[in-house]
């Protein structure tokens, strides 16, 4: 069932075996049920592109895609993510290694400074466009507000999302 196996209590407390599907690859890991998806990605799978900024769902730095939807990995138990397709910033680039258009747009618009919130911003931005919530600058601002940027690159982030949304709409037309 969905790649979860409870292993009962050992000396180290309850452990479980979980299969996480991250960026198209299956990973069998043994972990504490308390492990959040964020910590599983960072501490167990070495995927440190997903960042920890608050652990309370108040900053957006840990945003990943779960079955194509943007969600916060700090508020999700790793066990609850088993069976879902998880995409992180490391899985966004094309098969040839070329950056995703949103990654390129963030570079082009200088939509980052310290870069720490950036993976979360980009995961959120990709979803924002896919959801159809990038129709105007105000809509982008609202739907990107779940990702705090303390350097305050916001106007440049809006420009990057606007550009990608524009080209996506042009393709659709």
């Amino acid at each position: 069932m969905s790649g979860i196996e409870t292993m009962g209590s050992e000396a180290t407390g309850p452990r479980m075996r979980v299969t996480l599907t991250v960026n198209g690859a299956d990973h069998d890991i043994q972990l504490d049920p308390r492990t959040t998806l964020l910590d599983a990605l960072r501490e167990h799978l070495g995927l440190t592109g997903t960042k920890v900024g608050c652990n309370h769902g108040t900053c957006g730095a840990c945003t990943v895609h779960i079955d194509g939807r943007r969600q916060l990995s700090c508020l999700m138990l790793a066990a609850a993510a088993a069976g879902s397709a998880i995409t992180t910033i490391e899985g966004l680039a094309g098969a040839d290694g070329a950056p995703h258009p949103m990654q390129a747009a963030f570079v082009a618009h200088d939509a980052l400074q310290c870069g720490y919130c950036t993976p979360g911003q980009i995961m959120s931005a990709v979803a924002c466009v896919a959801e159809g919530h990038a129709g105007s600058d105000d809509e982008i601002r609202e739907y990107m507000s779940g990702n705090l940027c303390r350097c305050a690159a916001y106007p440049n982030i809006v420009a990057a999302v606007r550009e990608v949304a524009g080209s996506t709409m042009a393709e659709a037309a």
């Binding site: 504490d32 769902g57 945003t63």
Partner: protein
Amino acid sequence: MRPFLYSRATSLEQAMSEAAQSHAAIMAGGTTLVDLMRGDLTGAEHVIDIGHLPGLAKVELDGPVLRFGALARMADVAELPFLKQNYPALVESLQLAASQQIRNAATLGGNLLQRTRCVYFRDGVSDCNKRVPGSGCTALDGEDREMALFGASDRCVATYPGDWGTALAAFDTSIEISSAAGTKTVKFADFHVAYGDDPARESILQPGEIVTAILVQATPAGRHSTYVKVRDRQSYAYAVTSAAVALELDGDRVTAARVSLGGVASKPWRAPAAEAALVGQVLNQAVALEAGRAAFADAKALRHNGFKIDLGARTVARAAMVAKGKH
């Protein structure tokens, strides 16, 4: 976090039976529960994940009762065209809550059960009757700008933080609750318990009971409804004050009204005095403000939240005028 066992429910029946055991907690989207567990604000030793159960996310809008499956995700419901057209207050309350990432995970049922944002409850160290019954209420002589004007007592002055719940209070809503004993529905007004009575108890939900649906009586007032949320930050913030208003109109005259308040009470708070002040009146700014003032006539302010009596009245007034303008 305290250690816990995780299990993923394969059926509602299994979940209900496991949830009846002591120290069990139901998890749906997880956005509330994981955060609470991190703060050691639940005693959960067994987490039962119902987030993957089939069938509980269905939303049915075409009958005399709108039926929202408890596992429907906030973000999905916020996009439903019928709802946008006919019940803007419900959609707006979802759109203005949290962030899209959280709305993608959080469920309609779980949202109702989110717990207060009172900093003294959350900080894990202050005296708090909600966290440690009998320890006292720090907010009484603490930072109280965010605290409640209604439904509070000298035991607890925390506010209910939800938007969706506040909007639901402006409709004839009931909650479907399932347990091994069967399924029952309770009126939404009876679902939450005002914190002032027993701070540790926030809803009537008992161990083994699971919210399975939210039922809203269809009403023409839905079309003339809105949810207004006033925040310090433009987005991704809890309400300082909020109001949901749903109106039935004959021309400019109000024939029926429902008004509820958020950010100012220990539970989703209906304001019958405001409703009475609206019904029968030709709605204009002055009438709307009068209704707002009526809503807060019985408010009990602390040291730093008295401004919410005025702001809340204005919020109701804005909501009433916006609701009138909806088509």
